[in-house]
């Protein structure tokens, strides 16, 4: 991995973010809407742990929407602009550039989380006292990392296709359900839960909820250490798979000459 290309990808995504109004939708409007829906669902019960769970869920939904939009958009945009070929002819790997762009999305994910909390506090006067603020913050960062790793895999898989943005809408909802952000995993059918077990963000969300809510039980019935270990292991695995996919997709594009098609 080339750190200069990582920084370049991060900087480019940052400039793009501030100069393109459409980014406001996934990074600010989406989390706002998700949180509003969640809080309206829970009505007057604004002081109990359920509302904190709802706010956390809304935050994760917003973060995932942002990650997914950024992941699918990033290469589609390069295809559309004809810059995919310009970056392919450069010596840095596309993977490094994508890592940089994902890091920017992760940073914006934190902004999402803050927006969600501010909305809940200011507009709904919800009691959002965190059981362990420091641990919560650490777990939130790790969850963002896991979301970014899923986003990386999606971004690399989308390099070859011209339908990245369309396919991303299909990928949006399953993560909401399977990660436990929308509803606890325990309410899912047994067969479906298997997918949650291999989904890195699900372990992060489990840990975030436990760090935020006093006495919150694990969705998986495991300790916090297991949550973190599995999150890190699965995220690392996703990043490794993303690396292999990038190399293969890049090679395939050189064989088919499909980098310029849009």
């Amino acid at each position: 991995m080339n750190h200069r290309a990582v920084v370049a990808g991060f900087k480019q995504q940052k400039i793009q973010f501030f100069s393109d109004p459409q980014w406001i939708i996934p990074s600010l409007v989406s989390p706002f809407l998700f949180t509003m829906v969640m809080l309206f669902l829970y009505g007057d019960d604004v002081d109990g742990p359920i509302v904190l769970q709802a706010v956390l869920g809304g935050g994760v939904l917003g973060m995932w929407a942002n990650t997914l939009f950024a992941s699918s958009f990033t290469i589609s945009y390069d295809r559309m602009n004809g810059t995919l070929e310009s970056i392919m002819v450069a010596p840095s790997s596309i993977y490094s550039i994508l890592i940089g762009r994902s890091l920017w999305s992760t940073a914006i994910g934190l902004v999402n989380a803050v927006v969600v909390f501010v909305i809940a506090e200011v507009m709904f006067d919800a009691d959002l006292t965190l059981a362990n603020p420091v641990l919560f913050f650490v777990m939130l960062i790790l969850t963002l990392f896991s979301l970014a790793s899923v986003g990386m895999l999606i971004a690399t898989a989308f390099i070859r296709t011209r339908m990245g943005r369309v396919l991303s809408t299909i990928a949006e909802y399953p993560i909401y359900v399977l990660s436990g952000a929308l509803v606890p995993i325990t309410v899912l059918p047994e067969g479906l839960r298997v997918f949650s077990y291999v989904l890195a963000p699900a372990w992060g969300i489990d840990a975030v909820k436990r760090a935020a809510i006093d006495g919150c039980e694990s969705m998986f019935g495991v300790s916090m250490a297991v949550d973190v270990a599995l999150l890190l292991a699965l995220s690392s695995l996703l990043l490794a798979v993303a690396y292999v996919v990038t190399r293969r997709v890049e090679r395939r594009m050189l064989e088919t000459g499909s980098a310029t098609r849009y």
């Binding site: 080339n2 200069r4 290309a5 920084v7 370049a8 900087k11 480019q12 400039i15 793009q16 100069s19 393109d20 602009n81 004809g82 810059t83 070929e85 310009s86 970056i87 392919m88 002819v89 450069a90 010596p91 840095s92 550039i97 090679r251 050189l254 064989e255 088919t256 000459g257 980098a259 310029t260």
Partner: protein, 325 residues
């Protein structure tokens, strides 16, 4: 043929594309071309649309894997993935048209992004980028977003981007297409300057005057095959057995032109000069050319008929035959 004086050596290079229609044959974009390019020269690849020019450049820049044959660029095999990775530091490419830039970024930000991808040391970056912006005459527009650039400005920032790694070989794929004459002239001057600085330039173009002005050597490709090669003079000489005939008539000689085309001659009414029709075509020498063609054009009131020195365009049209556009 592969000596240190050669920047590029291509031998029997082939590139085919699979057809999307099942059962359809593969499309041959490049059908076994061979040529050499000396270091430091401007080498032209001329040909009509779909002749295989861009495909050839993409293979030579490592953006497309050849189907078969061999291409050595700076001594490295473009079919070898590892070689291509090393090669990328030493070459660059400018694709024709307006795409290939980040529109929301300024000209300077685009150059900074690409200089990071090439690992240009931070302390050299500012000087290098300022120099490139001066070179392409965009220093005053450096902070303007590319989306606000004119077509000519976009093409110039493209060239600056492609020079970010001081490439030993620069591929220019129709760099002046769609540009006005003044900007095109500026870009041609820039290409000459780059060549004078030691870079090898591979240029594809439709414009004969551009090739004539810039190229030390060239190939003419048609249907993926090389149909002509050499210097401008050598290519003109390659049609030495052909007479270029110019006929000026008072009436439109469309019927005569159709008759020539039916004989397989590449003929066309080139211009309407003072209300008169100027027809040019190439005919084989030694057929008492003028006498027989004067009769053909007589119904259209011939004002003059004569044999001209062939231009590069005449040679090009003769070599590519009916394939030219």
């Amino acid at each position: 043929m592969n000596g240190p004086e050669h920047a590029i050596v291509v031998e029997d290079l082939v590139r085919t594309f699979k057809s999307f229609m099942s059962g359809s044959p593969e499309k041959v974009a490049v059908g076994g071309i061979s040529f050499e390019v000396k270091k430091g020269e401007i080498f032209g690849i001329l040909g009509p649309n779909g002749a295989g020019k861009t495909t050839t450049i993409k293979m030579l820049s490592g953006l497309l894997t050849p189907t078969s044959g061999k291409a050595m660029v700076l001594g490295m095999d473009v079919s070898d993935e590892k070689s291509v990775r090393s090669l990328r530091r030493r070459i660059n490419i400018v694709a024709g048209g307006e795409r290939g830039l980040y529109y929301r970024l300024s000209g300077r930000q685009n150059l900074e992004f690409f200089s990071d991808l090439y690992g240009i040391p931070k302390k050299e970056q500012k000087t290098l980028i300022n120099g490139l912006l001066e070179l392409v005459d965009l220093a005053d527009a450096a902070e303007v977003k590319v989306e606000n650039y004119s077509r000519g400005m976009k093409q110039r920032i493209h060239i600056a981007r492609a020079l970010i790694n001081s490439p030993e070989i620069l591929y220019l794929d129709e760099p002046t297409i769609g540009l006005d004459p003044e900007i095109s002239r500026g870009i041609r001057g820039l290409v000459r300057k780059l060549s004078d600085g030691g870079a090898t330039v591979i240029l594809t173009t439709h414009y004969m005057f551009e090739a004539e002005e810039l190229c030390d050597h060239m190939i003419i490709v048609s249907h993926g095959k090389v149909v002509g090669r050499g210097t401008v003079i050598e290519i003109k000489d390659s049609i030495a057995d052909v007479s270029c005939i110019k006929v000026v008539t008072e009436a439109d000689p469309a019927v005569a032109v159709a008759a020539l085309r039916a004989e397989g001659l590449e003929a066309g009414v080139d211009a309407l000069l003072n209300g008169r029709f100027v027809t040019k075509f190439a005919a084989r020498k030694g057929d008492d050319a003028l006498g027989s063609y004067e009769g053909l054009f007589a119904p259209f009131r011939v004002k003059s008929i004569g044999i001209e020195e062939p231009t590069l365009e005449d040679a090009y049209l003769t070599l590519v035959g009916g394939d030219a556009e």
